[in-house]
C-alpha cells in the first residue's frame, strides 16, 4: 500500500466501522422477521420489498425525532452516556479478524482485549441510568450492573476454554488451532470436542444472554414493570445510539462465539479471504439466531433468581470446566490436538 500506515489503518477501521453499523441495522430486521415467523406472523412487510427498507425507515425516524432532555437530568452524564455505551460495543470489532489478513488489528492478546473492552459498556449503562434522574431508570441500571458483573465472570471463564485448548490469546491462532478434520468430515471445531466443547459453548451462550440483557434475563428492561429501564428517558438519536450499541455488542459476541467455538472462517473454500469471511458471517448469524430463538421462547425470571443462577450454578460450573480443560491439555502434553 502506498498510504502511510496510520492512514491505511484509519481507512480500514473506518470501513469496518461502517460495515459493522450497516450489519447491525439489518440484523434488527433479521431478528424481527425470525421472531415473527416463530409467532405465526410475518414481520415488517410494507416498507420496501418484504420489509427490506425497514431499518432505514427506523433510522430516519429516529434521526428526525425530537431530542427530549429532562430538565432535572445531570446534563454531562446524561449526554455522554450513549457515547460511552456505544464506543466499547463497536471497539470490540477492531479485534475481530474476519479472515486471515482481513481485520483491523489482530492483537496477540485479542481475546483478552475483547473481553475487557466489552465490559466497559457497564459504565455507559450506569451513566445513563444515573444521569436520567428517574427512579425507574436508576433502579434498572443498578439491577443491570449487578447482573452484568455477576455474569462477566462465567463469560470470561467460558471464553477461556478455547484459549486454553488453543494455547494462545490471539484470535487468528485460535481459529488456526481449529483447522483440520477428524475422520474425514468432522471439523475440529472446539464445539465438537466431547463434553468440554459443548458445555463451554452452552455456558458461553447463557452468559452472553445475561451479559447482554436478553430474555430470559432481561429484568433490566422488563417492559411490564420498568418500561425500558435505563433507556426510558432517551429519545431520538441518543436512543438510536444505545440501541446500536446493544445490537453491536450482541453481534460482536456472536462473532466471538463463532470464532472461539465454531471455527471462525474455516470451511470449504476458505483459502480465499472473502469466502472465509462469508463463512464467518454465516456462523455468527447462526449463533445470533439461536440466541434470538431462546429470547422468544421463555418468560423472564426475577432478578434474585438470575443472580442465583449465576453465582450458584454458572460460575462454579465454568470454573470446573476451565480447570478440567487445563488438566486435559496438560495431560495431552501441550496444545495442538
Amino acid at each position: 500500500m502506498t498510504l502511510p500506515p496510520l492512514a491505511y489503518h484509519a481507512l480500514v477501521g473506518f470501513v469496518v466501522l461502517n460495515v459493522v453499523i450497516g450489519m447491525v441495522t439489518y440484523v434488527t430486521l433479521l431478528e424481527r422477521k425470525f421472531a415473527a415467523r416463530m409467532q405465526s406472523r410475518i414481520g415488517p412487510y410494507y416498507v420496501g420489498p418484504h420489509g427490506l427498507l425497514q431499518p432505514i425507515a427506523d433510522a430516519i425516524k429516529l434521526m428526525l425525532k425530537e431530542d427530549v432532555v429532562p430538565t432535572t437530568a445531570d446534563r454531562w452524564v446524561y449526554n455522554l452516556a450513549p457515547i460511552v455505551f456505544l464506543v466499547p460495543c463497536v471497539l470490540i470489532f477492531a479485534t475481530l479478524p474476519f479472515a486471515p489478513g482481513l481485520g483491523v488489528a489482530d492483537l496477540n492478546i485479542g481475546v483478552l482485549f475483547f473481553l475487557a473492552v466489552s465490559s466497559l459498556e457497564i459504565v455507559g449503562l450506569f451513566m445513563g441510568g444515573w444521569g436520567s434522574n428517574n427512579k425507574y431508570a436508576l433502579l434498572s441500571a443498578m439491577r443491570a450492573v449487578n447482573q452484568i458483573i455477576s455474569y462477566d465472570l462465567p463469560f470470561v471463564f467460558a471464553a477461556f476454554v478455547p484459549v486454553v485448548l488453543a494455547g494462545s490469546l490471539q484470535m487468528s491462532a485460535i481459529v488456526a488451532a481449529q483447522q483440520g478434520v477428524w475422520l474425514g468430515f468432522v471439523p475440529k471445531w472446539f464445539v465438537v470436542y466431547p463434553v468440554i466443547g459443548q458445555l463451554a459453548f452452552v455456558a458461553f451462550l447463557v452468559a452472553t444472554l445475561a451479559a447482554e440483557n436478553r430474555v430470559p434475563f432481561d429484568i433490566l428492561e422488563a417492559e411490564s414493570e420498568l418500561v425500558a429501564g435505563f433507556r426510558v428517558e432517551y429519545s431520538g438519536m441518543k436512543f438510536a445510539l444505545i440501541q446500536l450499541g446493544e445490537y453491536a455488542h450482541m453481534i460482536g459476541t456472536s462473532f466471538l462465539a463463532a470464532l472461539l467455538f465454531l471455527g471462525g472462517w474455516l470451511g470449504p473454500g476458505s483459502e480465499h479471504a472473502l469466502v472465509g469471511a462469508l463463512w464467518f458471517l454465516l456462523k455468527a448469524m447462526l449463533v445470533f439466531l439461536v440466541v434470538t430463538w431462546v429470547r422468544w421462547s421463555f418468560v423472564r425470571i426475577r432478578v434474585d433468581q438470575i443472580l442465583a443462577i449465576s453465582w450458584k450454578l454458572l460460575l462454579p460450573a465454568s470454573i470446573v470446566l476451565l480447570l478440567a480443560t487445563a488438566f486435559w491439555v496438560a495431560a495431552r502434553g501441550g496444545h495442538g490436538v
Binding site: V215, E225, S297, V299
Partner: protein, 366 residues
Amino acid sequence: MNMGPQHPSAHGVFRAILTLEGETVVGVDAVIGYLHRCHEKLGETLTYVQYPSIASKTDYVAAMTAELAYVSAVELVGKIEVPKRAQWLRVLAAELQRVASHCLWLGTWCMDMGGALGGGATVFLYAIREREDILDLFEALTGARLLYGFHQPGGTRYDLPAGWAEQCRKALDRVERRLDEYEAMLDDNAFFLVRTQGVGIISRELAQEIGVSGPLLRGSGVNHDLRKAAPYSSYEDFQFRVPVETAGDCFARYRVRMVEFRESITIARQVLDGLPEGPISSRPGVKSVGQVRVPKGEGYARVEGARGEVGCYLVADGGPKPYRLKWRGASFSNLSVLPHILPGVKVADVVAIMGSVDPVFGEVDR
C-alpha cells in the same frame, strides 16, 4: 409507587398505589372506577329486549356469560320458559366463550411475565391465534366477534347456520392440539415455575371469607362450581369434571384454568353431539321494543363465568324495563383479595399475581 391506570400490564384501567420497601410490597391501595359506564342505570332505562346487547359489555372478554346472567335473571323473575334447544345453545356459547376467555388470559398473563418483546409475546400470539378460531365461529353464528347480543329473554336470537357444527368441531380439535403445545412450553418450564409456584397464595379460609369465585376459589381447594352446585340452563345434562387444586398459588390457578379449557371443549362436543331440535326461543322474534314485560318481583340469577360467579339481581315492576338492576361482577370480588395477598411479595410478582387473578374491568367498574 403508582402502577397507574395506564400500564402495560394493568389488564385494563386499574390503579394500584403500592407502598414499597426496597423491592417488597408492604401496602396496596387499589383505585378502581376508571371504566364506570353506569350499567346499572342503563338497565333501568333500557328495556328487557334492548339490554342483553349492552349486558355483554360488562365482561367484554366473556360476553356470552354476561348476557346469560342478565337474561337468566329476567327469565327467573318473569317465569319465562326457555326451550331445550335454546338452553343447549346457551351452554355451547358459554363454553366456547370460556375457552376464548382463557386463551386471552393465558396470552396476556405470559406477556406480562415475559415482556412484550420476548417469550411472553410468543405465547400471547399463539393464544390469540387460537382465540381467533373461536371468534370466527361466533362470527359465523351471530355476525359479531366480541359483543354478540346473542341472548334474548326466552331463548337465543340466532340459530346455527349450515355447516357450523362441522366448523366448530374442527376448531375444537385444533384448539385442543395447540393446548398440548402450550402445556409443553409452560408446564415444566423452570423459568415459569419459579415465577408462579409459591407466589400469591390465597389460603382456603381467605378465599371463602373474601368471597372470590371461579378459578381463584377452585385453585385454593374449594370445590365450588356453579355449573355443578346450582345447575342452570341444562348443565345437569352434561358430564364434565371440575378441577380443584389445593396449593392456592398462581401455578394452581394456572392448572385449574388449563383443565377448564379441556373440560369446556368436552362439554362443547357433547352439546354438538346431542343438540335437540326445536325452537330457539319461547317468545316471538324481536318485533317491538317493549314486547317483554315482567310482572312485579325480584330475583337473583347467577352463572359461572370465566372469572367466577357473575350474577344479576333484578327488581321488576311490571313494565317493559327493570325497576332496578344490580350486577355482581366476578372480577370485583376477586380483586378485593389483592390487599391481602400482595403485601410481602416482590414487585415483579405483583404482575404475575394480577395476571392470575385475571380481572376484567368492565365487570369491576360496570
